[in-house]
């Protein structure tokens, strides 16, 4: 994969906390060593091609009222996966939705992160997803403790 040195500099300058000030991109552009216009144009392109998947805020969900969450692991027949994903993703309580490989003693091939007010709420919600999709085999791994949560820092080597 060929990533230009300028792009690497942009990623390095953009991956931390974005400044809260009147002209934040001007500060970033200065750090990269390009004009603000060039930076804005390149970011727009990165957003278009999916390199930059989100430019905005992520909240701490516990502080905004979602106190319980569970990783839901499901056994979904391969040919139904796109359809099941569409149904599950449509719910705002589901924040992440992925397929993943199985292993000999691990049959689950589909993952959803489920957020709710309580564990009981998460259980009921998962049951609702099960009924909506007809996927009966699943388990919930409730979050007991957050040991680490950071953003990836790319190109630091």
């Amino acid at each position: 994969m060929n990533i230009s040195e300028t792009d690497k500099k942009i990623v390095r300058a953009m991956q931390g906390a974005f400044p809260v000030c009147s002209e934040p991109y001007k500060e970033i552009a200065a750090a990269v060593g390009i004009s603000e216009d060039a930076l804005l144009k390149r970011l727009e392109e990165m957003k278009q091609d999916g390199t930059l998947r989100k430019m905005g805020a992520v909240l701490r969900h516990r502080q905004v009222g979602f106190k319980a969450n569970a990783l839901g692991t499901w056994v979904v027949p391969r040919e139904r996966m796109d359809e099941v994903a569409e149904i599950m993703c449509a719910h705002p309580e589901v924040t992440h939705c992925y397929d993943r490989n199985t292993l000999p003693d691990w049959p689950y091939n589909f993952y959803t992160m489920i957020h709710g007010d309580t564990e009981e709420g998460c259980r009921k919600f998962a049951e609702k997803l099960s009924q909506e999709t007809g996927i009966k085999e699943y388990s919930l791994q409730f979050t007991r403790r957050e040991w680490k949560k950071t953003s990836m820092k790319y190109f630091m080597e």
Binding site: V20, T51, L52, A57, V58, Q63, V64
Partner: protein
């Protein structure tokens, strides 16, 4: 802290996205019918209150030549804290959670070097108290947008 209805509108806007314009907060302020100064001051306060995990850019690892995976670790109860802190030492580990099932620790690993990746996984697999490790990679990400609509 009790969020006002203005705070909720502001946080919803901010989760929706920051535009690529010279004065993005002013654009947001216009939408909310306040001055740029009000938005900047309130965001400062909300950040200090710890409501916001991050304001900024979130990149797609694959597009930058990195590959990410989810690792589940089966570990004896009394070793969990020790194993978790060892895992946390790697900058390539971005998330590490303790969960309720047999596999007590679940962490995400993002690397751009297969050897380094193997080294980390072998080291973790051999830590005291660890009896199994699953490497669960994804081929299709259907949704990865964390957004909480505040009402």
């Amino acid at each position: 802290m009790e969020l006002t209805s203005f705070d909720k509108q502001l946080l919803n806007e901010l989760q929706g996205g920051i535009q690529f314009v010279s004065r993005p907060y002013e654009l947001m302020a216009q939408k909310l019918g306040v001055s740029e100064q009000v938005v900047l001051e309130r965001l400062d306060q909300l950040q200090q209150e710890g409501l916001i995990r991050k304001i900024g850019a979130f990149f797609n690892s694959d597009k930058l030549g990195y590959s990410g995976t989810l690792i589940a670790v089966k570990v004896q109860q009394q070793y969990i804290a020790q194993v978790a802190s060892k895992i946390n030492e790697y900058p390539e580990v971005t998330h590490n959670y303790q969960r309720s099932g047999d596999y007590a620790l679940w962490f995400t690993l993002i690397t751009n070097d297969a050897k380094r990746r193997e080294h980390i996984l072998t080291t973790v697999r051999n830590l005291p108290g660890v009896s199994a490790l699953m490497d669960l990679y994804s081929q299709k990400k259907y949704k990865i947008d964390v957004r909480f609509q505040l009402k």
